[in-house]
Symmetry: C2
Subunit: 427 residues, 2 copies
């Protein structure tokens, strides 16, 4: 096998752990076959013959990772936030998702959606599609064409949904299995993920079947957990025999039996949090969505203190923005308000903690993704911040802070995912 | 006097009152000498000879009004938010402001600042400069050149500040008077405003002198009020003889004796709120800043219910963004979290309420500004939202919601302030 070595030079910043940034001014990232060999301050002599991809005076940061968002809600961004979760689903989300029975509409919107992802620097995402098989295949094929990494789930829902969005559970399982078999390939940048919408919309038969598919094909799982108090009450009514909301997923062996992401996690009990830790369940922290739908604030410090894995989710279109930097800001804001109003003993999130969640934290779901350490896949954004930070002597961390808080997608001048440059003119 | 009539056509949306939007699809705004004569759905026959400025398929909305921000902190956007108010002032704000003793630096940064204002659609602003007279004159002159409207205050501070930012109170008063006399002209787009930084940094002698200047020249007042609990404690220690923080400003006749803006107002007592209502004091609601510095959430519903006037302030660089749309989103987020965590009886802010505050609410400080009603000055943004909302049948309100939540400054294609188009290539 030929070894392809590449060398990237620039002002490098990333988080190996949540508590601090690693920075290298005029540093070098050396990759071999698209994986990182080393990230160093001085270029070792052995590489002196190799041409350098020189991004001096630009920031080089890991590509962003978004572990919870709904592709078919892209057109709904910004709409309907005078509602809370359940009426919002009924009045906005479901009518828009129904349109994805039309594959032409799906193609049009999914191109816009993927373009928005790469324009905003999101290298990897874990995505809900709608329940429509064909449109979900279109989404997967467009992702493959784009070069971005993604887990994609055909949504399953066979109860408590509008009639126009209710599946027969057998057909739902057949289509899910078809989708898994079509896309579950070892070296692919996109992968299937089992996606029961949430407990209220999935019968026991459907949950059983999905659980078996997850086990049979060794496919991960994503769903929603404890976003809203009315939702939690509803789950309790539907499953009186099981103590907790998380317990219902666990009962069906879809709570960490395979890699699992649960979105929101605002109102979990201590027992649930303990279970999440034990079974390695990821929290998708969706602070903008939790603001918009008045859901509340997830106690992220508690998850971190209990060694529960946490990544960031934009949760469009509960979230109003597909921008990970804006979602990082909301994560910090939310934690600050939690510490002022809910629990004064909580330390709010620092910028490095939030940035970690948005890169290496969520990236762990993809393997070695989201950092510039040895053996990590080379996902990177080149950020020209000359105008943002120009003229003044700022540290690399300060320059990153300015980019996060006041930068724009236009500041990203290049994007690499798993070592390959993304063509950001594609769609 | 010649009557100059202009007619603007487009999809018009504005708020006459906080509770709802007024919309006119393919409507007309007719101005006479830069003031609005009427805003109508059908063009009256008498205007049939006049050429129409046709912005069909674009939104026409009032220019934004920002009633609290610090011009010399523009370079600090995004920096240092792991701190609360008092250490943040010491470590970030004051060292940056000190640089404005250098008029060259001031000119460079103030050009960037004003450019950011007009690129983001802020037609009017109420601005803190630094304590430096010459740099404040530069700021005022650049504002005049830009065509934007502004109140500009030379900051006063003569105690409890770093030695390099502490004035002699006599000199402070002399320079303030000089600035007032130079810029206090009846028909000017920019005006002086008396600006004691906040109670802890102003001696009784200085406050007395500023009060007299305010009375003598009939100049309005701006300052900070009840942003942070440590700050409130500090004021109590400094003025044991006066019951409340607001009471100290009131003692010096700088609390509504002339038009007055108080920024933040997070922790006010009921007596203070009553006084604000009686004396017509404006609240500058600065939600992003209050998030960033962990200050808390101002109970805006309470102010609205008590008929206290409220406008929006970005409060850069406590706020991390000079964008009013982003600050509108934060205002709504803050109110939702207040209703979840602080007081379940509070209704959160609707999109129209927040938009009202960012246009007509704060605009009232400037006179008839921030609406498209009769006799209002014509401040308007033309927004091309074809790509944002294109292809789908959205109402004008939904299009505005999409612009606020997911639009960008680049969507603003033209800007008018008091009837004159702003040259957005100027700086």
């Amino acid at each position: 096998m030929i070894k392809e070595i590449k060398i990237y030079k620039g002002d490098i910043i990333f988080c190996e752990s949540p508590d601090k940034f690693t920075t290298l001014e005029n540093g070098y990232i050396i990759t071999e076959n698209n994986k990182i060999k080393e990230t160093v301050q001085e270029l070792p002599a052995e590489y002196s013959d190799i041409e350098i991809l020189d991004f001096s005076e630009n920031l080089i940061i890991p590509g962003f990772v978004d572990i919870h968002l709904h592709a078919p809600q892209f057109e709904n961004l910004g709409l309907g936030y005078d509602n809370e979760l359940l009426p919002w689903l009924e009045n906005y989300t479901f009518p828009e998702e129904a349109k994805f029975s039309d594959t032409k509409y799906a193609e049009e919107i999914y191109k816009k959606f993927i373009k928005a992802l790469y324009m905003h620097g999101t290298a990897r995402s874990v995505v809900f599609s709608s329940l429509h098989l064909e449109s979900t295949e279109i989404l997967a094929d467009l992702f493959l064409e784009s070069g971005l990494g993604a887990y994609i789930g055909k949504v399953n829902m066979d109860r408590n949904s509008p009639s126009y969005l209710t599946e027969n559970y057998k057909k739902s399982l057949e289509e899910t299995e078809y989708f898994i078999k079509k896309y579950n390939k070892p070296d692919s940048m996109i992968k299937p993920i089992i996606t029961p919408r949430f407990i209220p919309t999935c019968t026991p038969e459907l949950m059983d079947g999905l659980s078996k598919l997850s086990e049979k094909y060794n496919v991960p799982v994503q769903s929603h957990l404890s976003e809203n108090l009315s939702e939690i009450e509803w789950v309790k009514e539907l499953h009186k025999e099981i103590e907790t909301y998380a317990g219902v997923y666990n009962h069906y062996k879809m709570f960490g039996d395979r890699p699992t992401i649960m979105a929101h996690c605002i109102h979990n009990t201590d027992d649930e949090i303990k279970l999440m830790k034990e079974k390695g369940v990821f929290v998708a922290h969706c602070p903008t969505s939790n603001f918009n739908l008045s859901s509340g604030i997830a106690p992220i410090r508690k998850f971190l203190d209990n060694n529960v894995k946490v990544g960031i989710g934009t949760d469009i279109a509960g979230g109003h923005t597909i921008s990970i930097p804006e979602t990082i800001i909301s994560a910090i804001h939310a934690s600050k308000m939690y510490s002022v109003y809910a629990d004064r003993t909580f330390h709010s999130l620092s910028i490095s903690e939030a940035f970690f969640m948005a890169t290496k934290g969520g990236g762990e779901f993809f393997g070695k993704v989201g950092s510039f350490e040895k053996d990590y896949e080379f996902d990177a954004l080149i950020i020209n911040d000359n105008e943002l930070s120009g003229g003044s002597n700022k540290t690399i961390q300060e320059r990153l802070e300015k980019y996060i808080y006041f930068g724009a997608k236009e500041d990203i001048i290049k994007m690499f995912v798993s070592g390959k440059e993304i063509n950001r003119e594609r769609f």
